[in-house]
């Protein structure tokens, strides 16, 4: 049968093109290898961003106390003499934590890893449209990362003007004492922008041009849909950021005054440019997770996704609306107050497609057959935490309420509910769910559950009370809240939050162990461990170079689960319809494999 020939062809194929170590593992043009490179790099930066977060929380939980001896040695006297974090270093910490998390951890882990892994495999393509550009897209990222890391060690330390880099604070070193650090920050992000643009170019071209026969737009799995929409946002938003960064770099280095008032520059212009990029960016950081979650919830409920078309329409509407809401970051900036109302309306309207998605996920679970394994737990956690992050957004969208909570911990709570509760739990769901396709083995289910429950608990212990800090008026980015009498009573709550963060961070060691242990010792996965319908799961795990032994043909949508006429509760997209008429027995049925978690 075709399976046997396929294996032979693959074997020959592999022999003919035995690649050198360097071409295979380092300068690879294979989208799956590039996905893995982004995965390892992204996880390293996630670890770094996490360590910076822990350091921030040490200062807030135990202000003025020296860092524990076992980490003290990391920081030189310019950052933390005697283990006591300096205020200027604290400003660098909050800036670099956000920078690494947003640009070097979440973006690569979403678009970089899953854009590369999923798009060609889910639409039935042999690789990306431009494999060499894809390779370049990855290799730009570590270069930008090294530049960003280097900024810690130059005179004056790393950038300390916040990840939003508001001018004029960021436009002139005299205001922060950081000269070279800020310049390196700008250069690093300008360089990194090319990685995103090249990657996005590939994703868009691949989805448009390289779909297998029968893969119509409305048969594309939602993960690929979300990555496709994200790619458009990247393609359109990153050049705006890059343009702004270049202007800011000119202000810093050659004395222009785009954003400095001395030369009739306009500080608010920077904010408009930054947030015109920045709000689409927020959706760049969440849409892919929405796609992963849709995939996991439909599969693990063994039920068609509820409202496939409205899910796609909601994704597209969010993408369009994300361009007209940036002003809600600037209600208190001094922007014309009449403009404020325009942004209130657009901002609350974006709640509508977000709500549609939440209701459709709930509709998918409704009357399903829910398998409680680690991917599903993370996906449902995503939904429940995204509800909190979405609802707290309504407070800020109402401009008059935003007056009080703007720049307080309420915002910090909100954004961490979306970016950690949302994006990070979505990434965990994605990694665990697609791990078998990447590495051929399953991650350990028991460890996965332990990691999930502890993470979920410590996460909420840490971030939920941040809302309350905001209600009490505690500002963001202050080195020592105890300077203010009205915040002194909050110290026990701050200490509680810090301890919870330490626990949350430590819990991630379980994930790291599970990830590494399963590479060698995990249960062998087989082609389709989750009994999924998408083309991705018809390939061997891991798929060979070229992915599909022969061109797959697509006959139906990706979510045909539990069809009443079929014995199996799934119906792969490429299974010819004739086989179902014959009772589903004639076709080379994939060998039944036990579903993990059963």
């Amino acid at each position: 049968m075709s399976t046997a020939t396929a294996t032979e062809t693959h074997a020959e194929h592999a022999e003919h093109h035995e690649l050198s170590f360097i071409r295979k593992y380092i300068f690879s043009t294979d989208h799956k290898m590039i996905a893995k490179q982004f995965l390892f790099a992204g996880l390293m930066f996630l670890l770094l961003g996490g360590l910076l977060a822990v350091t921030i929380r040490w200062q807030l939980g135990f202000p003025g106390r020296p860092l524990p001896a076992f980490i003290q040695w990391i920081f030189p006297d310019t950052m933390a003499p005697g283990g006591i974090i300096l205020p200027e270093f604290y400003n660098s910490l909050v800036t670099m934590h956000a920078t690494f998390m947003v640009f070097f951890a979440l973006m690569p882990l979403m678009a970089g890893v899953f854009g590369n892994l999923l798009i060609p495999l889910q639409i039935g393509a042999e690789d990306m449209a431009f494999p060499r550009i894809n390779m370049v897209s990855f290799w730009i990222m570590p270069v930008a990362g090294v530049i960003m890391l280097a900024s810690f060690f130059v005179e004056g330390g790393a950038a300390g003007a916040g990840w939003t880099s508001y001018a004029p604070l960021s436009a002139d070193g005299q205001y922060t004492g950081v000269y070279m650090g800020q310049i390196l920050w700008l250069i690093s992000l300008i360089v990194l922008g090319f990685s995103s643009i090249l990657g996005a170019l590939n994703y868009v071209s691949t989805v448009i041009n390289m779909r297998a026969p029968g893969m119509t737009w409305f048969r594309i799995p939602l993960a690929t849909w979300s990555l496709f929409i994200t790619a458009w946002l990247l393609l359109l938003a990153i050049p705006i950021l890059t343009g702004g960064l270049i202007l800011l770099l000119a202000d810093q280095t050659i004395g222009t005054a785009f954003f400095r008032p001395e030369g009739s520059g306009e500080p608010l212009l920077w904010q408009h440019i930054f947030w015109f990029f920045g709000h689409p960016e927020v959706y760049i950081l969440i849409l892919p997770a929405m796609g992963f979650v849709s995939e996991v919830i439909a599969n693990r409920s063994r039920k068609p996704i509820f409202g496939y078309h409205s899910m796609v329409i909601a994704l597209v509407s969010i993408a369009f609306l994300s361009w007209v809401v940036w002003g809600h970051h600037m209600f208190q900036s001094g922007m014309n107050p009449l403009l404020g109302m325009t942004f209130v309306v657009t901002t609350v309207v974006i709640a509508v497609p977000s709500a549609i998605k939440v209701f459709n996920w709930m509709g998918t679970l409704w009357r399903g057959n829910i398998h409680f394994d680690a991917p599903l737990l993370h996906a449902v956690a995503f939904v429940s935490l995204f509800i909190i992050g979405g609802l707290s957004g309504i407070f800020m969208a109402a401009a008059p309420v935003d007056i009080y909570i703007h720049d307080t911990y309420f915002i910090v709570a909100h954004l961490h509910y979306v970016l950690v509760g949302g994006s990070l739990f979505g990434i965990f769901a994605g990694i665990i769910y697609w791990y078998p396709k990447m590495f051929g083995r399953m991650m350990h289910e028991g460890l996965g559950k332990v990691h999930f429950f502890l993470s979920f608990l410590f996460y909420n212990m840490a971030f939920f009370p941040m809302h309350n800090l905001g209600v009490q008026g505690m500002m963001r980015r202050i080195y020592d809240p105890n300077q203010y009498e009205f915040l002194q009573g909050l110290q026990p709550l701050n200490t509680w939050i810090s301890i919870s963060i330490f626990l949350f961070a430590s819990t991630q060691a379980i994930f790291a162990f599970n990830f590494l242990w399963s590479l060698r010792k995990g249960k062998v996965a087989g082609n389709n461990p989750w009994k999924s319908n998408t083309l991705l799961w018809t390939t061997p795990s891991p798929p060979p170079h070229g992915n599909f032994p022969e061109m797959p043909i697509v006959y139906r949508g990706p979510y045909e689960y539990s069809h009443p006429d079929r014995e199996q509760d799934y119906w792969p997209q490429d299974e010819p319809p004739a086989s179902s008429e014959a009772g589903g027995q004639v076709a080379p049925a994939p060998t039944p494999e036990p579903v993990p978690g059963d």
């Binding site: 508001y166 409202g307 107050p337 609350v348 509508v352 709930m362 969208a397 703007h406 500002m475 300077q483």
Partner: protein, 230 residues
């Protein structure tokens, strides 16, 4: 550790006329989002329990429902639009520059790294004259009378934050941004900087002292006399 710190209701410390209006809007949003929060999270939990996998169970083959989509889309839309319209009235009242009370007492506030410099007119009632005087990090205002603060910044962006007054407005170099409010009680309150402004940002605090009208006039006279002596 006080249990009030876990409150989701705004702290009971408002001392400005419109502060209570803002807190009421907060409360309305808290109710709306609170109900949605409990409803969705409980339904989610119920589904998880009720539709969990059991031996022999098969999911129902349902692709969706246009009726359901229509209902939840329109309900969500109506709720958020009502909140937006409700917000608009309050926002205009507070921020529309044409609606700043004409009789408001005017103070210039120049924010610098890391100080608040409140500039008062002297006896002549005019700024930029010889009898102006500056109060550093302490903002003196009268009770029961609108005050308009003209915010300016010398170096970088700062944010003028009076938590008890429910006032926050950025001070941007190169711009003059008016913000008005009216105190309802005398006493001492907090002035804070809410926008990262550099190394000493966390120390950039101050005090607002609300006087009775008579006390305020006395204080002005005292300061003017001192300024003229210089």
């Amino acid at each position: 550790m006080k249990w009030e710190y876990f409150s989701w209701v705004m702290p009971d410390n408002v001392v400005s006329t419109y502060g209570q209006t803002l807190d009421n809007l907060w409360l309305v949003i808290l109710w709306v989002t609170g109900i949605v929060f409990f409803a969705t999270e409980i339904v989610l939990l119920v589904f998880m329990v009720k539709y969990r996998h059991r031996e022999g169970r098969k999911a129902e083959y349902i692709h969706g429902s246009n009726k359901a989509e229509f209902i939840w889309t329109s309900i969500t839309f109506v709720i958020v639009m009502v909140l937006a319209v409700y917000s608009k009235g309050i926002w205009d009242e507070i921020r529309d520059q044409d609606l700043i009370p004409a009789d408001a007492y005017e103070i210039q506030m120049l924010a610098t790294q890391f100080e608040w410099n409140a500039n008062y007119t002297g006896a002549d009632g005019l700024f930029d004259t010889a009898d102006d005087f500056i109060s550093r990090n302490v903002l003196h205002i009268p009770v029961g009378r609108p005050v308009v603060v003209q915010l300016m910044a010398q170096d970088v962006i700062h944010s003028f934050f009076l938590p008890e007054f429910r006032v926050k407005q950025d001070a941007v170099p190169g711009m003059i941004t008016p913000v008005w409010f009216e105190a309802t009680t005398t006493g001492e309150f907090t002035l804070a900087c809410a926008e990262l402004c550099g190394l000493g940002h966390y120390t950039m605090g101050g005090t607002v002292i609300v006087h009775t009208e008579a006390d305020f006039q006395d204080w002005l006279a005292e300061q003017q006399a001192a300024a003229e002596d210089d």
